[in-house]
Subunit: 334 residues, 2 copies
DNA sequence: CACATCTATGCACACGTTAACAATAGTCTT
DNA sequence: AAGACTATTGTTAACGTGTGCATAGATGTG
């Protein structure tokens, strides 16, 4: 069917060894011979069989890109930016294999032979076992988006606690005192960090957040909607709500409008993530931007570095978040 | 390093052939022997080397999932749903390799050896060459989202023309006569189809759409915003605007609010795609839903069918779109 | 001129797996 | 009891590529 180095060898009147060396641009082969062989390869439309190469070179040319889940809980924008970032770095050097961790029934098939390196975009503590497995197998690994301290594992993430802290401070500085919180999906590390940052800000200014001002959420529109309905039903409504992501913030805003009220006039809303539509909803959403694409780029770069230099550095990179002030927060007069 | 069938063979006191057969559950091997071998394999934590398997079986266990572009023009939600749909079908039988077609400098490396099958999520006529290439190489192929008529290629898409037609008719039936259009990204087949469906609806009711009521768009928030600003500046403003996707519709709505006007009271807006946030913006967006996830599922299923039965059927599957009526269109009194 | 050195190439094997064919022992048939 | 057949296992080669070692010719050296 398709041409092999042996076919080329026959036509060129040399051994297949010479062809192999010529096409890999080995200094052992005469320039003239190389050129002749290259031309024949071109004519035959030769493409190396990567499976054979992999077998003998013990490299798969595969990079795994694993998400905590593909089926629920991962927001589309997040997913997209992560893949984009990684893809822009690897170009054609590796194949990018995308998987959801929760699709694995067993990690047995994850071996050094099938992955040259793995990028885990982790959103949950439940990812611990797979991280252990990969590290044990000695596969180069970078974990994005969530802190890990396993030795030999790279780690790139944004400082979400700090981002939430800034958002909380901002609300207080705008004059808010009755501030409510819609939490993220339980078990997701980000949910914990964002909550922590928010709490720290409140603590910093000595503002207490009663139980009625705290609602659980699932990072989706619907749970934001429900949570806000609850806040609106309270006798003493909060004047501002910090939502642990933009989708929930959107759902929350929707609930406010449905109740015949206005954002930010009657109630202020802050989100987290700066998703693409945050700037375009009405009112434009004040939110915390985390540099997903940059995180995935930096992560991929460092991973490739470790792969190519056969290192297993343990490095943690923390990228700053940024508060994006738009129109969804009202300045309260004292 | 890692165990091979030969290691198992030694421990079991049989030939490596017997081990291979046992682990592949061949009927040639005695049940008792199989069991013994399985236990040893388990103890050694044996995993087959897929590169070696691929080499001899001439199968890669790879499925390509190619998008027109990863870097711009593909909406995040679209991307996400497509991967989800395909992933839910293939589970652990194949590895899913995600690529942007515009990342390829040459299609040379796309061979039968490296891909058992390919799914192209096509958004542009520019994808013609790669489709030709893949079909010529005899690699099983399904093209999603855009019509193709190459022999031996599967094709699954939604009837967007019909969807846009219904949306257009709906606007007219709600009493609108001055209807404007924000077009999709030039070169994208969907842009043409949606425009065609809209035009057909207008033609059907004898409504003419002047040049000033047509604006180009790029499928992003910003171009929708710009286009709507243009419409608002006209002496005789349209009463309704059909946007070729939801993102542009969001941008358009934003522009309306900025001008101190209201949707749908002053101007009605219809989108296309029913992205996740369509239901949660204010006002909730009336739009056309196309079943991306279903399309990618159906496509993947049919592709796997063709791969496993070694067929190259030429089949086209057209899935219906659905008009989702929400709150962004005003009923005009005559 | 004899020997060492260098250059360009080939030979043979390895990577881990599957499969065609061969071999052995036991069972059945007449 | 001889031949045919069956069940189980082994021998060997093959997939396509890369590499250590051998080889042959050319060139340099004293």
């Amino acid at each position: 069917m398709s041409a092999t180095i042996k076919d080329i060898a026959k036509l060129a009147g040399v051994s297949h060894t010479t062809v192999s060396r010529a096409l890999n641009n080995s200094p052992l082969i005469q320039e003239e011979t190389k050129e002749r062989i290259r031309i024949i390869a071109e004519q035959l439309d030769y493409t190396p069989n990567y499976n054979a190469k992999s077998l003998v070179l013990d490299r798969s040319y595969n990079l795994g890109l694993f998400f905590t889940t593909l089926s629920n809980g991962t927001s589309a924008g997040f997913f997209y930016e992560a893949i984009r970032g990684v893809n822009s770095v690897i170009r054609d050097r590796y194949q990018l294999i995308v998987k959801g961790i929760d699709d694995y029934t067993s990690f047995h098939s994850i071996t050094k032979k099938s992955f040259d390196g793995i990028i885990i975009v982790s959103q949950s503590d439940d990812d611990g076992p797979i991280i252990e497995h990969i590290a044990n197998k000695g596969i180069p690994l970078v974990v994005l988006n969530r802190p890990v301290d396993t030795a030999g594992v790279l780690n790139v993430l944004s400082d979400e606690e700090q981002g939430a802290f800034h958002a909380g401070c901002y609300l207080v500085n705008q004059g808010h005192k009755k501030i409510a919180l819609i939490e993220g999906r339980k078990g997701f590390k980000s949910a914990q960090n964002r909550k922590d940052g928010f709490e720290r800000a409140m603590g910093h200014y000595g503002i207490s957040v009663p139980a009625a001002y705290r609602m659980p959420g699932l990072y989706d529109l619907e749970s934001g909607h429900t949570a806000m309905q609850h806040f609106l039903s309270l006798e003493e409504r909060p004047t501002a709500v910090f939502c642990c992501n933009d989708e929930m913030a959107l759902g929350a805003i929707k609930a406010v409008f449905e109740a015949g009220l206005q954002v930010p006039k009657d109630i202020s809303v802050v989100g987290f993530d700066d998703t693409v539509f945050a700037a375009y909803v009405t009112p434009a959403l004040t939110t915390v931007r985390r540099p997903i694409e940059q995180i995935s780029k930096e992560g991929a770069l460092r991973l490739l570095g470790n792969i190519e230099n056969k290192l297993h550095t343990t490095e943690q990179l923390l990228l700053r978040t940024e508060l994006i002030v738009r129109e969804s927060v009202q300045l309260l007069q004292p």
